[in-house]
Protein backbone atom coordinates (compact mmCIF):
# COMPACT_ATOMS: atom_id res chain seq x y z
CA UNK A 1 0.00 0.00 0.00
CA UNK A 2 2.76 2.43 0.88
CA UNK A 3 4.47 1.90 -2.45
CA UNK A 4 1.21 2.45 -4.32
CA UNK A 5 0.76 5.77 -2.55
CA UNK A 6 4.42 6.67 -3.09
CA UNK A 7 3.97 6.22 -6.84
CA UNK A 8 0.54 7.87 -6.89
CA UNK A 9 1.83 10.86 -4.97
CA UNK A 10 4.81 11.35 -7.25
CA UNK A 11 2.70 11.14 -10.39
CA UNK A 12 0.05 13.45 -9.02
CA UNK A 13 2.69 15.98 -8.07
CA UNK A 14 4.31 15.76 -11.46
CA UNK A 15 0.99 16.66 -13.15
CA UNK A 16 1.23 20.08 -11.64
CA UNK A 17 4.77 20.69 -12.80
CA UNK A 18 3.62 20.80 -16.41
CA UNK A 19 1.33 23.42 -17.89
CA UNK A 20 -0.85 20.74 -19.45
CA UNK A 21 -2.55 20.03 -16.12
CA UNK A 22 -3.56 23.67 -15.75
CA UNK A 23 -4.71 23.82 -19.37
CA UNK A 24 -6.89 20.73 -18.90
CA UNK A 25 -8.45 22.17 -15.74
CA UNK A 26 -8.95 25.59 -17.31
CA UNK A 27 -10.58 24.20 -20.45
CA UNK A 28 -12.78 21.92 -18.38
CA UNK A 29 -13.96 24.70 -16.07
CA UNK A 30 -14.47 27.18 -18.91
CA UNK A 31 -16.57 24.79 -20.99
CA UNK A 32 -18.52 23.52 -18.00
CA UNK A 33 -19.15 27.02 -16.71
CA UNK A 34 -20.40 28.17 -20.07
CA UNK A 35 -22.69 25.14 -20.29
CA UNK A 36 -23.95 25.52 -16.77
CA UNK A 37 -25.07 29.09 -17.30
CA UNK A 38 -26.59 28.30 -20.68
CA UNK A 39 -28.52 25.39 -19.28
CA UNK A 40 -29.61 27.52 -16.36
CA UNK A 41 -30.75 30.33 -18.65
CA UNK A 42 -32.65 27.93 -20.87
CA UNK A 43 -34.11 26.22 -17.81
CA UNK A 44 -35.39 29.55 -16.49
CA UNK A 45 -37.20 30.32 -19.72
CA UNK A 46 -38.58 26.80 -20.01
CA UNK A 47 -39.78 26.53 -16.44
CA UNK A 48 -41.59 29.88 -16.67
CA UNK A 49 -43.33 28.66 -19.80
CA UNK A 50 -44.12 25.29 -18.23
CA UNK A 51 -45.60 26.84 -15.13
CA UNK A 52 -48.51 27.98 -17.23
CA UNK A 53 -49.50 24.32 -17.71
CA UNK A 54 -48.46 22.62 -14.46
CA UNK A 55 -47.90 24.35 -11.15
CA UNK A 56 -44.73 22.35 -10.38
CA UNK A 57 -42.86 22.97 -13.62
CA UNK A 58 -39.84 20.83 -14.51
CA UNK A 59 -37.49 19.85 -11.71
CA UNK A 60 -33.93 21.11 -11.33
CA UNK A 61 -32.82 17.50 -11.62
CA UNK A 62 -34.36 17.02 -15.04
CA UNK A 63 -33.84 20.52 -16.29
CA UNK A 64 -30.32 21.28 -15.10
CA UNK A 65 -28.49 18.35 -13.57
CA UNK A 66 -29.13 15.75 -16.26
CA UNK A 67 -28.09 17.89 -19.23
CA UNK A 68 -25.16 19.29 -17.25
CA UNK A 69 -23.72 15.90 -16.33
CA UNK A 70 -24.58 14.47 -19.73
CA UNK A 71 -22.39 17.14 -21.28
CA UNK A 72 -19.71 16.74 -18.66
CA UNK A 73 -19.37 13.05 -19.46
CA UNK A 74 -18.80 13.84 -23.13
CA UNK A 75 -16.28 16.57 -22.41
CA UNK A 76 -14.39 14.19 -20.17
CA UNK A 77 -13.96 11.86 -23.14
CA UNK A 78 -11.97 14.61 -24.79
CA UNK A 79 -9.97 15.55 -21.71
CA UNK A 80 -9.11 12.29 -19.94
CA UNK A 81 -6.81 11.03 -22.73
CA UNK A 82 -4.63 14.05 -21.98
CA UNK A 83 -4.51 13.01 -18.35
CA UNK A 84 -3.43 9.43 -18.93
CA UNK A 85 -1.36 9.64 -22.09
CA UNK A 86 1.94 10.33 -20.41
CA UNK A 87 1.66 7.96 -17.48
CA UNK A 88 3.62 5.03 -18.95
CA UNK A 89 4.64 6.43 -22.34
CA UNK A 90 6.85 9.07 -20.82
CA UNK A 91 8.41 6.68 -18.34
CA UNK A 92 9.37 4.44 -21.23
CA UNK A 93 10.65 7.22 -23.40
CA UNK A 94 12.81 8.72 -20.65
CA UNK A 95 13.83 5.28 -19.35
CA UNK A 96 12.60 6.10 -15.86
CA UNK A 97 10.55 2.93 -16.08
CA UNK A 98 13.83 1.13 -15.43
CA UNK A 99 13.77 2.52 -11.91
CA UNK A 100 10.23 1.29 -11.33
CA UNK A 101 10.77 -2.13 -12.86
CA UNK A 102 14.03 -2.78 -11.00
CA UNK A 103 12.68 -1.67 -7.64
CA UNK A 104 11.08 -4.22 -5.33
CA UNK A 105 7.64 -3.10 -6.42
CA UNK A 106 5.00 -5.38 -7.87
CA UNK A 107 3.68 -4.54 -11.28
CA UNK A 108 0.13 -4.20 -10.02
CA UNK A 109 1.35 -1.63 -7.49
CA UNK A 110 2.78 0.46 -10.31
CA UNK A 111 -0.43 0.21 -12.35
CA UNK A 112 -2.60 1.06 -9.34
CA UNK A 113 -0.34 3.93 -8.34
CA UNK A 114 -0.63 5.46 -11.78
CA UNK A 115 -4.36 4.87 -11.92
CA UNK A 116 -4.93 6.43 -8.53
CA UNK A 117 -2.89 9.50 -9.40
CA UNK A 118 -4.95 10.13 -12.53
CA UNK A 119 -8.15 9.44 -10.61
CA UNK A 120 -7.22 11.93 -7.93
CA UNK A 121 -6.56 14.48 -10.64
CA UNK A 122 -10.04 13.99 -12.12
CA UNK A 123 -11.54 14.05 -8.64
CA UNK A 124 -9.96 17.43 -8.10
CA UNK A 125 -11.33 18.64 -11.43
CA UNK A 126 -14.81 17.48 -10.49
CA UNK A 127 -14.51 18.99 -7.02
CA UNK A 128 -14.03 22.37 -8.67
CA UNK A 129 -17.46 22.00 -10.31
CA UNK A 130 -19.11 21.72 -6.90
CA UNK A 131 -19.71 25.44 -7.25
CA UNK A 132 -22.61 24.66 -9.59
CA UNK A 133 -24.70 22.66 -7.09
CA UNK A 134 -23.82 25.28 -4.51
CA UNK A 135 -25.29 27.94 -6.81
CA UNK A 136 -28.36 25.76 -7.28
CA UNK A 137 -28.80 25.42 -3.54
CA UNK A 138 -28.37 29.13 -3.08
CA UNK A 139 -30.98 30.05 -5.68
CA UNK A 140 -33.35 27.10 -5.75
CA UNK A 141 -34.31 23.92 -4.04
CA UNK A 142 -32.62 20.98 -5.78
CA UNK A 143 -32.75 17.35 -4.61
CA UNK A 144 -29.52 16.24 -2.97
CA UNK A 145 -29.95 12.61 -4.06
CA UNK A 146 -29.46 13.07 -7.80
CA UNK A 147 -26.52 15.39 -7.20
CA UNK A 148 -24.77 12.67 -5.22
CA UNK A 149 -25.53 9.94 -7.76
CA UNK A 150 -24.49 12.17 -10.65
CA UNK A 151 -21.12 12.86 -9.07
CA UNK A 152 -20.63 9.22 -8.12
CA UNK A 153 -21.54 8.17 -11.65
CA UNK A 154 -19.25 10.72 -13.24
CA UNK A 155 -16.39 9.63 -11.01
CA UNK A 156 -16.97 6.00 -11.97
CA UNK A 157 -17.27 6.89 -15.63
CA UNK A 158 -14.08 8.96 -15.51
CA UNK A 159 -12.32 6.06 -13.81
CA UNK A 160 -13.37 3.90 -16.77
CA UNK A 161 -12.00 6.47 -19.21
CA UNK A 162 -8.75 6.65 -17.28
CA UNK A 163 -8.35 2.89 -17.12
CA UNK A 164 -8.72 2.71 -20.91
CA UNK A 165 -6.12 5.46 -21.20
CA UNK A 166 -3.77 3.44 -19.03
CA UNK A 167 -3.95 0.47 -21.42
CA UNK A 168 -2.88 2.62 -24.35
CA UNK A 169 -0.17 4.56 -22.59
CA UNK A 170 1.27 1.20 -21.55
CA UNK A 171 1.45 0.17 -25.19
CA UNK A 172 3.65 2.86 -26.64
CA UNK A 173 6.34 5.32 -25.75
CA UNK A 174 4.65 8.00 -27.81
CA UNK A 175 2.29 10.11 -25.72
CA UNK A 176 0.39 11.48 -28.70
CA UNK A 177 -0.28 8.00 -30.07
CA UNK A 178 -1.40 6.86 -26.62
CA UNK A 179 -3.77 9.81 -26.31
CA UNK A 180 -5.20 9.43 -29.80
CA UNK A 181 -5.84 5.70 -29.40
CA UNK A 182 -7.50 6.29 -26.04
CA UNK A 183 -9.78 8.87 -27.60
CA UNK A 184 -10.76 6.52 -30.43
CA UNK A 185 -11.46 3.69 -27.98
CA UNK A 186 -13.58 5.94 -25.75
CA UNK A 187 -15.56 7.22 -28.72
CA UNK A 188 -16.16 3.60 -29.66
CA UNK A 189 -17.60 2.79 -26.25
CA UNK A 190 -19.69 5.92 -26.51
CA UNK A 191 -21.02 5.30 -30.02
CA UNK A 192 -21.86 1.69 -29.30
CA UNK A 193 -24.92 3.11 -27.56
CA UNK A 194 -26.18 4.74 -30.78
CA UNK A 195 -25.66 1.55 -32.73
CA UNK A 196 -27.99 -0.21 -30.32
CA UNK A 197 -30.86 1.92 -31.57
CA UNK A 198 -30.47 0.47 -35.06
CA UNK A 199 -29.50 -3.05 -34.11
CA UNK A 200 -32.00 -5.78 -33.44
CA UNK A 201 -33.49 -6.59 -30.10
CA UNK A 202 -30.87 -8.89 -28.65
CA UNK A 203 -27.88 -7.08 -30.09
CA UNK A 204 -29.41 -3.79 -29.15
CA UNK A 205 -29.52 -4.92 -25.57
CA UNK A 206 -25.95 -6.21 -25.69
CA UNK A 207 -24.72 -2.92 -27.11
CA UNK A 208 -26.68 -0.92 -24.59
CA UNK A 209 -25.21 -3.05 -21.86
CA UNK A 210 -21.67 -2.46 -23.14
CA UNK A 211 -22.13 1.26 -23.54
CA UNK A 212 -20.41 3.32 -20.89
CA UNK A 213 -22.86 6.20 -21.13
CA UNK A 214 -25.86 3.84 -21.11
CA UNK A 215 -25.18 2.93 -17.52
CA UNK A 216 -25.30 6.55 -16.54
CA UNK A 217 -29.06 6.83 -17.22
CA UNK A 218 -30.18 5.56 -13.82
CA UNK A 219 -27.53 7.45 -11.94
CA UNK A 220 -28.49 10.70 -13.62
CA UNK A 221 -31.99 10.27 -12.21
CA UNK A 222 -30.78 9.63 -8.71
CA UNK A 223 -31.09 5.87 -8.85
CA UNK A 224 -28.29 3.63 -7.57
CA UNK A 225 -28.56 0.39 -9.48
CA UNK A 226 -26.03 -2.28 -8.54
CA UNK A 227 -25.91 -3.48 -12.17
CA UNK A 228 -24.52 -0.13 -13.31
CA UNK A 229 -22.04 0.14 -10.48
CA UNK A 230 -20.91 -3.43 -11.05
CA UNK A 231 -20.53 -2.76 -14.75
CA UNK A 232 -18.29 0.24 -14.13
CA UNK A 233 -16.23 -1.55 -11.53
CA UNK A 234 -15.66 -4.60 -13.71
CA UNK A 235 -14.82 -2.35 -16.67
CA UNK A 236 -12.13 -0.70 -14.55
CA UNK A 237 -10.78 -3.99 -13.23
CA UNK A 238 -10.56 -5.50 -16.71
CA UNK A 239 -8.80 -2.44 -18.14
CA UNK A 240 -6.32 -2.28 -15.28
CA UNK A 241 -5.61 -5.96 -15.72
CA UNK A 242 -5.01 -5.34 -19.42
CA UNK A 243 -2.53 -2.54 -18.69
CA UNK A 244 -0.78 -4.87 -16.29
CA UNK A 245 -0.46 -7.47 -19.04
CA UNK A 246 0.75 -4.93 -21.57
CA UNK A 247 3.51 -3.61 -19.32
CA UNK A 248 4.50 -7.14 -18.41
CA UNK A 249 4.80 -8.12 -22.06
CA UNK A 250 6.84 -4.97 -22.74
CA UNK A 251 9.57 -6.50 -20.61
CA UNK A 252 9.64 -9.60 -22.81
CA UNK A 253 10.32 -7.78 -26.03
Amino acid sequence: MTKISTIAYRDLKSYFTSPIAYIIIAVFLAVMGWMFFNILFYFNQESMRMQQYSPKGISLTDGVLRPLFGNMNVILIFLTPFITMRLFAEEKKLHTIELLLTSPVKLYEIVLGKFISSFLFVTLMLALTLTYPIILFATGNPDLGPIITCYTGTLLLSACYLSVGLVFTAMTENQIVAGALTFVALIFFFIINWVSHFAGNVWGEVFTYLSLIGHFQNLSQGIFNSVDILYYLSFIVVSLFLSHRVIDSYRWR
Binding site: T2, K3, T6, I7, R10, S14, T17, S18, L94, H95, T96, I97, E98, L99, L100, L101, T102, S103, P104, V105, K106, R251, W252, R253
Partner: protein, 327 residues
Amino acid sequence: MIQVSHLTKMYGSRPAIDDLSFEIQKGEIVGFLGPNGAGKTTTMKILTCFMPATSGTAVLEGFDVFENPIEVKRKIGYLPEIPPVYSEMRVKDYIEYAALLHEVPKSKLKQAVNSAIEKVSIGDVQNRLIGNLSKGYRQRVGLAQALVHNPEILILDEPTIGLDPKQIIEIRELIKTLGGTHTIILSSHILPEVTATCQRIIVINKGRIVGEDTLEGLSARMKKGLLYSMIVKNPSQDGLAALKQLPGIKTVSHTGSKIVIELQHGTQDMRDKIVETAVKKGMGVLEFSSEKISLEEVFLQLTTEESTIGNGSAKTSIPNLDVAAHL
Protein backbone atom coordinates in the same frame (compact mmCIF):
# COMPACT_ATOMS: atom_id res chain seq x y z
CA MET B 1 27.36 -13.65 -4.62
CA ILE B 2 26.20 -13.81 -8.21
CA GLN B 3 26.01 -17.02 -10.20
CA VAL B 4 25.23 -16.80 -13.86
CA SER B 5 25.05 -19.89 -15.98
CA HIS B 6 24.39 -20.33 -19.68
CA LEU B 7 22.56 -17.04 -19.90
CA THR B 8 21.26 -16.31 -23.38
CA LYS B 9 19.11 -13.47 -24.64
CA MET B 10 17.75 -13.48 -28.15
CA TYR B 11 16.43 -10.46 -29.97
CA GLY B 12 14.48 -12.13 -32.72
CA SER B 13 16.90 -14.69 -34.05
CA ARG B 14 20.00 -12.71 -33.08
CA PRO B 15 21.59 -13.36 -29.71
CA ALA B 16 22.50 -10.24 -27.71
CA ILE B 17 24.26 -12.46 -25.22
CA ASP B 18 25.12 -16.04 -25.90
CA ASP B 19 25.68 -18.66 -23.22
CA LEU B 20 27.29 -16.44 -20.60
CA SER B 21 28.52 -18.12 -17.44
CA PHE B 22 30.42 -16.52 -14.62
CA GLU B 23 30.48 -16.18 -10.87
CA ILE B 24 31.09 -13.18 -8.69
CA GLN B 25 31.96 -13.53 -5.03
CA LYS B 26 30.62 -11.39 -2.25
CA GLY B 27 32.53 -8.12 -1.94
CA GLU B 28 34.19 -8.42 -5.30
CA ILE B 29 34.38 -5.56 -7.76
CA VAL B 30 34.09 -6.92 -11.25
CA GLY B 31 34.31 -5.03 -14.50
CA PHE B 32 32.40 -5.92 -17.63
CA LEU B 33 34.53 -4.82 -20.47
CA GLY B 34 33.50 -4.92 -24.07
CA PRO B 35 33.03 -2.80 -27.16
CA ASN B 36 29.71 -1.24 -28.13
CA GLY B 37 26.98 -3.78 -28.63
CA ALA B 38 28.85 -6.50 -26.75
CA GLY B 39 25.91 -7.27 -24.51
CA LYS B 40 26.94 -5.57 -21.27
CA THR B 41 23.70 -3.65 -20.82
CA THR B 42 21.65 -6.67 -21.81
CA THR B 43 23.35 -8.79 -19.15
CA MET B 44 22.76 -6.13 -16.53
CA LYS B 45 19.11 -5.75 -17.46
CA ILE B 46 18.66 -9.46 -16.91
CA LEU B 47 20.49 -9.44 -13.59
CA THR B 48 18.30 -6.59 -12.37
CA CYS B 49 15.13 -8.43 -13.44
CA PHE B 50 14.27 -5.65 -15.85
CA MET B 51 13.83 -8.22 -18.56
CA PRO B 52 13.87 -11.99 -18.64
CA ALA B 53 16.54 -14.07 -20.33
CA THR B 54 15.68 -16.38 -23.20
CA SER B 55 17.44 -19.24 -21.44
CA GLY B 56 19.89 -19.87 -18.65
CA THR B 57 19.80 -18.82 -15.03
CA ALA B 58 21.07 -16.00 -12.88
CA VAL B 59 21.07 -16.31 -9.11
CA LEU B 60 21.83 -13.33 -6.89
CA GLU B 61 22.32 -13.84 -3.16
CA GLY B 62 20.56 -17.16 -3.50
CA PHE B 63 17.53 -15.81 -5.35
CA ASP B 64 16.77 -16.62 -8.95
CA VAL B 65 15.97 -13.58 -11.10
CA PHE B 66 13.12 -15.42 -12.74
CA GLU B 67 11.56 -17.07 -9.72
CA ASN B 68 12.12 -14.45 -7.04
CA PRO B 69 12.45 -11.11 -8.81
CA ILE B 70 11.20 -9.07 -5.85
CA GLU B 71 13.77 -10.61 -3.50
CA VAL B 72 16.52 -10.00 -6.04
CA LYS B 73 15.40 -6.41 -6.54
CA ARG B 74 15.58 -5.83 -2.78
CA LYS B 75 19.26 -6.72 -2.87
CA ILE B 76 20.37 -4.61 -5.79
CA GLY B 77 21.00 -1.01 -6.62
CA TYR B 78 21.05 -0.32 -10.33
CA LEU B 79 22.35 2.57 -12.33
CA PRO B 80 21.09 2.04 -15.88
CA GLU B 81 22.93 3.24 -18.96
CA ILE B 82 20.64 6.28 -19.08
CA PRO B 83 20.07 7.56 -15.55
CA PRO B 84 16.36 6.99 -14.76
CA VAL B 85 15.72 10.49 -13.47
CA TYR B 86 12.58 12.60 -13.71
CA SER B 87 13.44 16.03 -15.01
CA GLU B 88 10.49 17.68 -13.26
CA MET B 89 11.59 16.50 -9.82
CA ARG B 90 13.97 18.08 -7.40
CA VAL B 91 17.14 16.11 -6.69
CA LYS B 92 16.33 15.47 -3.05
CA ASP B 93 12.71 14.49 -3.72
CA TYR B 94 13.85 12.10 -6.39
CA ILE B 95 16.34 10.31 -4.18
CA GLU B 96 13.72 10.13 -1.46
CA TYR B 97 11.32 8.60 -3.99
CA ALA B 98 13.89 5.98 -4.97
CA ALA B 99 14.52 5.24 -1.29
CA LEU B 100 10.81 4.72 -0.62
CA LEU B 101 10.49 2.42 -3.61
CA HIS B 102 13.38 0.44 -2.17
CA GLU B 103 11.74 0.08 1.22
CA VAL B 104 13.95 2.36 3.25
CA PRO B 105 12.00 2.77 6.49
CA LYS B 106 10.54 6.23 7.15
CA SER B 107 12.66 6.62 10.27
CA LYS B 108 15.89 6.23 8.33
CA LEU B 109 14.75 8.04 5.20
CA LYS B 110 16.30 11.41 5.88
CA GLN B 111 19.63 9.98 6.90
CA ALA B 112 19.76 7.60 3.92
CA VAL B 113 18.97 10.38 1.46
CA ASN B 114 21.51 12.75 2.93
CA SER B 115 24.25 10.16 3.01
CA ALA B 116 23.62 9.22 -0.65
CA ILE B 117 23.71 12.89 -1.60
CA GLU B 118 26.95 13.30 0.26
CA LYS B 119 28.57 10.20 -1.25
CA VAL B 120 28.22 11.46 -4.80
CA SER B 121 28.72 15.10 -3.75
CA ILE B 122 25.56 16.66 -5.10
CA GLY B 123 24.74 18.60 -1.96
CA ASP B 124 25.05 21.90 -3.80
CA VAL B 125 22.29 20.99 -6.27
CA GLN B 126 20.00 19.01 -3.98
CA ASN B 127 17.16 21.50 -4.25
CA ARG B 128 17.36 22.02 -7.98
CA LEU B 129 15.21 20.50 -10.69
CA ILE B 130 16.94 17.51 -12.24
CA GLY B 131 15.97 18.76 -15.69
CA ASN B 132 18.20 21.79 -15.21
CA LEU B 133 21.27 19.79 -14.24
CA SER B 134 24.21 19.03 -16.50
CA LYS B 135 24.69 15.52 -17.79
CA GLY B 136 27.40 14.73 -15.28
CA TYR B 137 25.27 15.83 -12.37
CA ARG B 138 22.36 13.81 -13.67
CA GLN B 139 24.66 10.80 -13.80
CA ARG B 140 25.58 11.41 -10.18
CA VAL B 141 21.94 11.71 -9.17
CA GLY B 142 21.39 8.35 -10.88
CA LEU B 143 24.26 6.93 -8.86
CA ALA B 144 22.84 8.32 -5.62
CA GLN B 145 19.56 6.62 -6.46
CA ALA B 146 21.38 3.28 -6.79
CA LEU B 147 23.15 3.73 -3.46
CA VAL B 148 20.44 5.17 -1.28
CA HIS B 149 19.10 1.90 0.13
CA ASN B 150 22.61 0.54 0.76
CA PRO B 151 22.13 -2.56 -1.39
CA GLU B 152 24.26 -5.69 -1.15
CA ILE B 153 24.85 -5.68 -4.88
CA LEU B 154 25.51 -2.67 -7.05
CA ILE B 155 25.07 -2.94 -10.79
CA LEU B 156 26.44 0.10 -12.53
CA ASP B 157 26.19 0.52 -16.28
CA GLU B 158 29.00 2.85 -17.33
CA PRO B 159 28.96 4.73 -14.04
CA THR B 160 31.50 7.42 -14.87
CA ILE B 161 30.37 8.29 -18.36
CA GLY B 162 29.87 12.03 -18.74
CA LEU B 163 31.73 12.94 -15.58
CA ASP B 164 34.63 15.36 -15.41
CA PRO B 165 38.09 13.98 -14.56
CA LYS B 166 37.93 15.09 -10.95
CA GLN B 167 34.55 13.44 -10.48
CA ILE B 168 35.73 10.31 -12.26
CA ILE B 169 38.47 9.93 -9.69
CA GLU B 170 36.05 10.61 -6.84
CA ILE B 171 33.51 8.11 -8.10
CA ARG B 172 36.22 5.51 -8.64
CA GLU B 173 37.35 6.04 -5.06
CA LEU B 174 33.76 5.72 -3.91
CA ILE B 175 33.33 2.46 -5.80
CA LYS B 176 36.53 1.13 -4.30
CA THR B 177 35.44 1.95 -0.77
CA LEU B 178 32.08 0.32 -1.41
CA GLY B 179 33.81 -2.86 -2.54
CA GLY B 180 34.39 -5.42 0.20
CA THR B 181 31.06 -4.70 1.83
CA HIS B 182 29.17 -4.56 -1.46
CA THR B 183 29.38 -6.77 -4.50
CA ILE B 184 29.83 -4.52 -7.50
CA ILE B 185 29.54 -5.08 -11.22
CA LEU B 186 30.31 -2.19 -13.47
CA SER B 187 30.50 -2.02 -17.21
CA SER B 188 32.67 0.02 -19.45
CA HIS B 189 34.18 -0.02 -22.88
CA ILE B 190 37.15 1.92 -21.62
CA LEU B 191 39.92 -0.19 -20.20
CA PRO B 192 41.53 2.24 -17.73
CA GLU B 193 38.10 2.64 -16.23
CA VAL B 194 37.92 -0.98 -15.16
CA THR B 195 41.57 -1.37 -14.31
CA ALA B 196 41.30 1.60 -11.98
CA THR B 197 38.49 0.12 -9.91
CA CYS B 198 38.01 -3.57 -10.52
CA GLN B 199 39.73 -6.59 -9.08
CA ARG B 200 38.56 -8.83 -11.84
CA ILE B 201 37.67 -8.18 -15.42
CA ILE B 202 35.30 -10.06 -17.66
CA VAL B 203 35.85 -9.21 -21.28
CA ILE B 204 32.84 -9.80 -23.46
CA ASN B 205 32.43 -9.40 -27.15
CA LYS B 206 29.48 -10.14 -29.39
CA GLY B 207 27.63 -11.65 -26.48
CA ARG B 208 30.34 -14.07 -25.43
CA ILE B 209 32.99 -14.06 -22.74
CA VAL B 210 36.33 -13.85 -24.50
CA GLY B 211 38.57 -13.37 -21.51
CA GLU B 212 38.40 -13.31 -17.78
CA ASP B 213 41.25 -12.39 -15.53
CA THR B 214 42.28 -10.64 -12.38
CA LEU B 215 43.91 -7.28 -12.54
CA GLU B 216 47.25 -8.93 -11.67
CA GLY B 217 46.80 -11.38 -14.50
CA LEU B 218 46.19 -8.61 -16.95
CA SER B 219 49.11 -6.52 -15.78
CA ALA B 220 51.36 -9.53 -15.85
CA ARG B 221 50.33 -10.04 -19.39
CA MET B 222 51.21 -6.45 -20.09
CA LYS B 223 54.66 -6.75 -18.53
CA LYS B 224 55.34 -9.91 -20.46
CA GLY B 225 54.45 -8.16 -23.57
CA LEU B 226 57.57 -6.11 -24.24
CA LEU B 227 58.19 -6.81 -27.88
CA TYR B 228 60.72 -5.79 -30.49
CA SER B 229 60.12 -6.22 -34.13
CA MET B 230 62.74 -6.06 -36.76
CA ILE B 231 62.74 -6.23 -40.52
CA VAL B 232 65.90 -7.70 -41.94
CA LYS B 233 67.33 -8.18 -45.41
CA ASN B 234 68.52 -11.80 -45.11
CA PRO B 235 66.92 -13.77 -42.30
CA SER B 236 69.01 -16.79 -41.47
CA GLN B 237 68.60 -19.70 -39.06
CA ASP B 238 72.02 -18.96 -37.72
CA GLY B 239 71.13 -15.38 -36.94
CA LEU B 240 67.85 -16.31 -35.30
CA ALA B 241 69.60 -18.86 -33.13
CA ALA B 242 72.15 -16.28 -32.09
CA LEU B 243 69.40 -13.89 -31.09
CA LYS B 244 67.78 -16.59 -29.05
CA GLN B 245 71.06 -17.09 -27.19
CA LEU B 246 71.10 -13.52 -25.90
CA PRO B 247 70.32 -13.14 -22.19
CA GLY B 248 66.77 -12.14 -21.33
CA ILE B 249 65.20 -13.15 -24.62
CA LYS B 250 62.17 -15.33 -24.31
CA THR B 251 61.10 -16.14 -27.84
CA VAL B 252 62.16 -15.27 -31.32
CA SER B 253 59.81 -15.85 -34.18
CA HIS B 254 59.85 -14.78 -37.77
CA THR B 255 57.58 -14.58 -40.75
CA GLY B 256 59.47 -13.86 -43.91
CA SER B 257 61.79 -10.95 -43.30
CA LYS B 258 60.07 -9.88 -40.14
CA ILE B 259 61.42 -11.01 -36.79
CA VAL B 260 59.51 -10.58 -33.57
CA ILE B 261 61.43 -10.85 -30.34
CA GLU B 262 59.79 -11.19 -26.99
CA LEU B 263 61.69 -10.29 -23.85
CA GLN B 264 61.50 -12.06 -20.57
CA HIS B 265 59.68 -10.36 -17.78
CA GLY B 266 61.84 -7.71 -16.16
CA THR B 267 64.53 -7.59 -18.81
CA GLN B 268 66.19 -4.24 -19.35
CA ASP B 269 66.60 -2.46 -22.64
CA MET B 270 68.14 -4.89 -25.16
CA ARG B 271 67.89 -2.95 -28.38
CA ASP B 272 71.60 -2.29 -28.89
CA LYS B 273 72.55 -5.92 -28.26
CA ILE B 274 69.90 -7.25 -30.58
CA VAL B 275 70.78 -4.96 -33.44
CA GLU B 276 74.45 -5.63 -32.92
CA THR B 277 73.95 -9.39 -33.03
CA ALA B 278 71.72 -9.18 -36.09
CA VAL B 279 74.25 -7.07 -37.94
CA LYS B 280 77.09 -9.34 -36.89
CA LYS B 281 75.25 -12.32 -38.31
CA GLY B 282 74.87 -10.47 -41.60
CA MET B 283 71.11 -10.26 -41.60
CA GLY B 284 71.11 -6.59 -42.52
CA VAL B 285 68.74 -4.68 -40.29
CA LEU B 286 66.35 -2.49 -42.30
CA GLU B 287 63.93 -1.43 -39.64
CA PHE B 288 63.65 -1.82 -35.91
CA SER B 289 60.90 -0.92 -33.51
CA SER B 290 59.93 -1.65 -29.97
CA GLU B 291 56.43 -1.76 -28.70
CA LYS B 292 54.91 -2.35 -25.35
CA ILE B 293 51.66 -4.19 -25.57
CA SER B 294 49.28 -2.06 -23.65
CA LEU B 295 46.22 -3.36 -21.92
CA GLU B 296 44.21 -1.73 -24.66
CA GLU B 297 45.90 -3.96 -27.15
CA VAL B 298 45.24 -7.04 -25.10
CA PHE B 299 41.65 -5.92 -24.98
CA LEU B 300 41.50 -5.19 -28.68
CA GLN B 301 43.11 -8.48 -29.41
CA LEU B 302 40.59 -10.29 -27.28
CA THR B 303 37.64 -8.59 -28.83
CA THR B 304 38.69 -8.65 -32.45
CA GLU B 305 39.98 -12.19 -32.71
CA GLU B 306 37.34 -13.99 -30.79
CA SER B 307 37.45 -16.84 -33.26
CA THR B 308 40.98 -17.85 -32.33
CA ILE B 309 40.98 -16.99 -28.66
CA GLY B 310 38.61 -18.98 -26.56
CA ASN B 311 37.73 -18.65 -22.96
CA GLY B 312 40.69 -20.63 -21.63
CA SER B 313 43.40 -19.87 -24.11
CA ALA B 314 42.89 -16.16 -23.67
CA LYS B 315 44.56 -16.42 -20.31
CA THR B 316 47.76 -17.90 -21.65
CA SER B 317 48.21 -16.76 -25.20
CA ILE B 318 50.25 -13.72 -25.91
CA PRO B 319 48.95 -11.67 -28.74
CA ASN B 320 51.32 -11.72 -31.63
CA LEU B 321 51.00 -8.16 -32.69
CA ASP B 322 51.72 -6.97 -36.13
CA VAL B 323 53.83 -4.15 -34.85
CA ALA B 324 54.05 -1.27 -37.19
CA ALA B 325 57.55 -0.72 -38.35
CA HIS B 326 58.85 2.50 -36.92
CA LEU B 327 62.06 3.30 -35.17
